[in-house]
């Protein structure tokens, strides 16, 4: 019998890759780098949300100069000496070279329109945003940091799921991050989750859906199993908006869809509502 795959295909974009990263896959408009940057990587013609890197995301929601990064020293290890067609260590090194990041999550303290919060932001460009031990540990530390400072935690996710190359330890990052969220909630602090395209597999099935408020970017894929897997295993015909934000909103799984330019003011409003310190 065919088996289920809830993990990431790290080499593939979840949607068919555009001919050029700056070409809109939806309406084929083409943009210069500086145009995309100034529009927060949103297509001016059709509103398509291009992937957004973690540091750009932080810059777009945090007050200028307010972000203080934490846990920068954490790096992935290779506990299984995992080797498929290439060794895991080589994939890690390549991802680090390509993205300039140590792993798929950045955490730190920031202010949004003057309100303090802790940020945990994922980057899909680093091995498909997959969650291994470092992502789990960083998220867990972000919870502790938010608790100690008495501020809410804002997470922005973009991930294909658990990182296969870390085997069962990758799966253990689900209960790890869930336990961290429960500690955060017990301390009385809020978790605000923003799901960007795609938030799937083990990240969707752990901290990303445990927020007090769940927000999603337009047309973001948020399914536990990917469309390809669902189709292969069940032979069911998939609805056009299968697993997308709009479907999730209709079925009551999220609270709001927030276009990227409105994310900063939306988070600021929520931080005020949750009485985040100034």
């Amino acid at each position: 019998m065919a088996k289920i795959d809830v993990s990431v295909e790290t080499n593939d974009q979840p949607s068919p890759p555009p001919s050029h990263p700056n070409t809109c896959p939806n309406c084929h408009s083409h943009y210069r780098d500086d145009e995309l940057e100034s529009s927060l990587w949103v297509c001016g013609q059709c509103g398509h949300h291009f992937p957004m890197r973690a540091r750009a995301r932080i810059e777009s929601i945090a007050d200028r100069g307010s972000f203080a990064e934490e846990a920068t020293e954490l790096h992935s290890e290779d506990p299984l000496q995992f080797f498929d067609l290439r060794p895991y260590t080589e994939r890690l090194a390549e991802a680090e070279m390509k993205t300039g990041m140590a792993d798929a999550m950045v955490i730190g303290r920031a202010a949004v329109e003057g309100r303090q919060c802790e940020l945990a932001v994922m980057d899909f460009a680093f091995m498909g945003g997959s969650m291994g031990s470092v992502v789990g540990e960083k998220f867990s530390r972000a919870c502790d940091s938010a608790m100690e400072a008495g501020v809410p935690l804002v997470s922005v996710t973009s991930s294909g799921g658990a990182r296969m190359q870390e085997g069962i330890l990758a799966l253990m990052q689900l209960p790890k991050t869930v336990s961290a969220v429960e500690d955060l909630h017990d301390s009385g602090q809020a978790l605000l989750c923003v799901m960007a395209h795609p938030t799937t597999g083990g990240v969707l099935a752990s901290f990303a859906t445990l927020g007090d408020v769940l927000l999603a970017e337009p047309n973001a894929l948020m399914s536990f199993a990917g469309p390809r897997v669902v189709q292969e295993i069940t032979r069911e015909k998939l609805p056009e908006d299968f697993g997308r934000s709009e479907q999730n909103l209709r079925y009551g799984h999220i609270d709001a869809i927030v276009p990227r330019p409105e994310l900063r003011p939306t988070l600021a409003r929520l931080l005020r509502l949750f009485d985040a310190p100034e």
Binding site: I4, V6, S7, E77, F82, V134, M164, P175, K176, S223
Partner: protein
């Protein structure tokens, strides 16, 4: 190969137990024997062929399933079918029963024996309704102070259109969150396939046991092979690479104990397999006896928060 950190920890525990004056009597010597057995097992790293043999045994058609153990271990079993929302998911069993005269709540995935039952139970792959049924039963346990046993046996959560529309990801997250909040003792045993998110949804426990020939993994060998080797038939290679066997899980500290099976596998003698499982579950509950609920919960979360390897 140098001894792993986990083996050193086990050895240290063993040394400590040996030096204690034998106040606990039988209980203590049972502990020593158990630890020695586990250390012996660690010594012998499984070969690629042995790992694949375990994958086959974990999926064996005649392997005892959750209800086979329920029948042999519990008295006065009463099944709870409702998730109180949408439906009765045959892939997830929940219920009340007596274990040594004490009421416990049991939750576990259930595969089917014949083709009709298999289809009806979706080969043990729960929908969100199944996880909500599990949560409902565990919350009931917490209200009444009943210990919780969960038995894990699933290829994974069901990857269906309706499952996604009903919130599969969130159901798995919420089920774990429910377990992280319980103030009653929880003992989990992986009795067959511990497949990914569908398994961990009911495995955030105080003690995690695993049967000798069970497997526990982030993805199925076939799924991993299809993605990384681009060829599902390389499943054997994939299994050898991520090692879903119990010894490996014990080495990494993911499980606490390996539950022995009859020679040749649990399906050779289900009665003996049930007796061995029952013993291990009782011992685990005995270890947790008397720990206040808040401490249990704090330790449970701390244990899972400590898992991971990084530099």
């Amino acid at each position: 190969m140098p001894p792993s950190e986990h083996e050193l920890r086990l050895r240290e525990r063993l040394g400590r137990l040996r030096n204690l004056p034998l106040l606990g009597g039988a209980k203590l010597s049972g502990d020593i024997e158990r630890l020695q057995r586990q250390i012996d097992r660690i010594g012998e790293e499984a070969t690629d062929e042995e790992i694949w043999r375990k994958v086959e045994l974990a999926r064996h058609d005649d392997r005892p399933y959750t209800l086979d153990y329920v029948e042999r271990l519990f008295d006065d079993w009463f099944e709870l079918h409702g998730d109180r929302a949408l439906g009765d998911d045959g892939a997830m069993i929940a219920g009340l029963g007596k274990l040594d005269g004490r009421t416990v709540v049991l939750v576990g995935q259930q595969k089917g024996r014949d083709i009709h039952e298999r289809a009806g139970r979706r080969f043990g792959m729960p929908n969100p309704e199944g996880y909500r049924k599990a949560m409902h039963a565990m919350e009931l346990a917490d209200r009444h102070g009943f210990p919780v046993v969960t038995l894990v046996d699933t290829p994974g959560a069901y990857p269906g259109v309706v499952a996604e529309q009903h919130g599969q990801g969130a159901a798995i997250a919420l089920s774990q969150a429910t377990m992280a909040r319980l103030t009653v003792p929880i003992v989990t045993c992986v009795i067959g396939e511990g497949g990914s998110g569908g398994a961990i949804a009911i495995a955030l426990a105080d003690r995690v046991l695993m049967q000798e020939n069970a497997i526990y993994s982030v993805i199925s060998p076939e799924g991993c092979a299809a993605i990384l080797w681009r060829d599902a038939s390389e499943a054997k290679k994939a299994a050898a690479a991520f090692r879903p066997d119990a010894i490996h899980c014990l080495e990494l500290g993911v499980i606490d104990e390996i539950v022995p099976e009859p020679v040749g596998g649990a399906h050779i003698d289900p009665d003996l397999a049930a007796r061995l499982l029952g013993e291990a579950v009782r011992e685990a509950f005995a270890d947790l006896e008397g720990i206040p609920g808040d401490d249990l919960r704090r330790r449970r979360r701390a244990r899972f928060r400590s898992l991971g390897v990084f530099a």
